[in-house]
Amino acid sequence: MKPQCQERTRHDCLRILKGRDKALEPLRQSELVVVGGTGFVGTWIAEMVAALNEDFRFGIKLSLMSRSTDQFSNRLPHLAGRKDFNLIKSDVRQLGQFPMNADWVIHAAANPDVRTHASNPVDTASVIVDGTMSVMRTAERLSHLKKILYLSSGLVCGPQPASTKGLDESAHGAPAPNASFMYPNAKRFAETICSAARMQSRIPVLVARPFSFVGPYQSLDTPWAQTTFLSDALQDHPIRVLGDGQVVRSYLYGSDAAYWFLRILTAGQSGDVVNVGSPVGVTLQALAEEVAKNFDPSPEIMFNTSPKSAGPSAQLLPDTTHAQNDYGLAVFTPFDEAIKLTAQWHQMMRNNHARV
């Protein structure tokens, strides 16, 4: 990875940690394992731990467990080559064992690609459900375990009712029980497995429900609005918005998300459930306009395929009152800044028309 991109992500972490590092004190001189540690979330947690160790002398030992450690090493040698980091190649369904002295475990293993969910719903479910079962069983053998944080999904409660401003952790909805919704259904069941492991085996586990993220390390190959718009703009194509652009989502920046996860892991009570995301909603039109602003020349924005208006379930926002009040968390990187930083990072990676 280009040195200026590394500097940028380190700066992103330090910006978040400034004045907030004390809240992560329980991590000092401890051993953290991230299962599914080479994806977007795992990479940002690795960046955050690297910053904590270098700039705040936390002395954390980090193990990243994943099927894709080889690709991670090739892509991110500045993280993979660190002495305080350990890469363990393994499938979450057959973990074998965690590093013996692990204090903390973050279980982030799942394929977030909606195309895989559509084409391979059975494998999608297997990774999530069998994987969570495997994490819980493997964790039973850890003598120092303080806590496990399971990364579920903001989709487990189904569509957001039109009457609410945001989904809170106690929402009672559920995704439809069919293969088209295998990912959220599997995540929902995995939460139940966590709950059962806590009850039956006294595993100290809590749940984070991530909503939408944006930032460096997010693959532009995925068909989400933020990645597609950025990809269109980077290739000098018009940004193509589906429908009337009035669907509402929110975006939490990568380094913010990493801090949230570490804070919830260390401060949370076993059994707690916490939404992770930004409560600040933006329409897809506003997202497209924000992306376009960061390119020179600004790409055209097209609404050219479907005049469908956003329906009542077109808004999906987390209610983050619990995270704010009980964990002291907030959106540290505002939406416009998050989009700017992401666009600039990709432009630096590609060395093209940066409006930096």
Binding site: L242, N304, P307, K308
Partner: protein, 342 residues
């Protein structure tokens, strides 16, 4: 969506029409019709072999005009209309067919699969989307699965990045209520647009297209004079006229599309598609309209009734690409007849 929303017309005369002439449309045909359609204000003009990019072959019929020449000529003659291609993964590969087509200036890619096989479209949709062109998923022979399964397959197309889904009545089998039910289900459950492609085996292509529009479809396919496989497609100029009468906007000039249809009749067609008795049977049996010519030919060769062939193909749920089964069925019917056991 309001009752009189805008309808995007995708003109498949130079693609589906190619079925009707054994894929023998020439460069001159393509140039002349593209000019006329462009002049009329047609939104999308599809060009290519009847089975889409890369499908020219001994089994499916060899194109007179290779893909790259057809697309070059179309591109040159389409100023306002967008250039579309039909892509069936398996016939069309990304490197050999799709990439060069996009480099030649294709604007709209319609990635198609049999109605129950949307999975095969993932790579082609993702690739096209990453290249910034408009991408639709098409589910062919859609009458062969239930509405619920059609929705499941359409959701796959959506998750791969398609910006809309066209469900195709490739056999001309639907009744208007079938279409209404499917459009409403897709409309209510997808966040992307819905389109419809009709065939006229039972004389219902226009009625079915209207049912689709009334239920919320925003893209309709049509062909000049209905020039297409078997009994033909929705007759484009009639479609435009009916939509105009009902108050839908298409952006198409009626007189000019009538002129384009006259031109198509004059230069493209050996015969204007009509609903022959075997077409009615193929519609009833739910067999792909493009089988009409090979079935007629093979029935003659084996001295069997083509209607029996169609109903047997329907029972076997045969789909495009399985043309060799026609021969097998004809042989079996001939043998049965010889044994006095029809």
């Amino acid at each position: 969506m309001g009752p009189n929303h805008k309808i995007t017309i995708s003109d498949a005369t130079l693609r589906d029409g190619n079925h009707a002439v054994g894929h023998q449309l020439s460069a001159e045909h393509i140039a002349a019709y593209c000019k006329a359609a462009d002049n009329a204000g047609v939104a999308i003009v599809e060009v290519g072999h009847g089975n889409g990019l890369g499908a020219s072959s001994l089994q499916l019929g060899e194109s007179k005009t290779p893909d790259h020449i057809a697309l070059e000529i179309a591109r040159k003659n389409l100023k306002k209309s967008r250039l579309g291609v039909h892509v069936i993964p398996g016939f069309a590969t990304i490197e050999r067919d799709l990439k060069p087509a996009l480099e030649l200036g294709v604007d709209v890619v319609r990635v198609a699969s049999h109605c129950s096989e949307a999975d095969i479209c993932e790579r082609h949709i993702s690739f096209s989307r990453s290249r910034g062109v408009e991408v639709w998923g098409c589910l062919m022979m859609s009458h062969m699965i239930s509405p619920a399964l059609l929705l499941e397959q359409a959701r796959k197309m959506e998750s791969y990045g398609a910006e809309g889904v066209v469900f195709m009545d490739s056999a001309g089998h639907y009744l208007p209520d079938d279409v209404r039910q499917r459009v409403a289900l897709l409309e209510n459950n997808l966040s992307i647009a819905v389109g419809f492609h009709a065939h006229n085996n039972l004389g219902l292509a226009i009625a079915n297209s209207m049912a689709a529009a009334e239920s919320g479809a925003i893209l309709l396919d049509g062909c000049a004079r209905g020039f297409g496989a078997g009994a033909g497609n929705t007759q484009l100029e009639v479609l435009v006229a009916v939509l105009e009468r009902l108050g839908y906007s298409t952006g198409i000039d009626l007189y000019k599309i009538l002129d384009a249809a006259d031109l198509a009749e004059q230069i493209l067609m050996k015969e204007i598609p009509s609903i022959k008795s075997v077409s009615v049977v193929s519609g009833m049996a739910g067999v792909f309209s493009g089988f009409l010519k090979p079935v007629t030919r093979i029935a003659k060769e084996f001295n069997v009734n083509p209607r029996d062939i169609f109903f047997e193909l329907g029972r076997r749920k045969i789909v495009a690409g399985q043309e060799d089964i026609i021969l097998e069925v004809a042989k079996e019917l001939a043998m049965r007849a010889a044994k006095g056991n029809p």
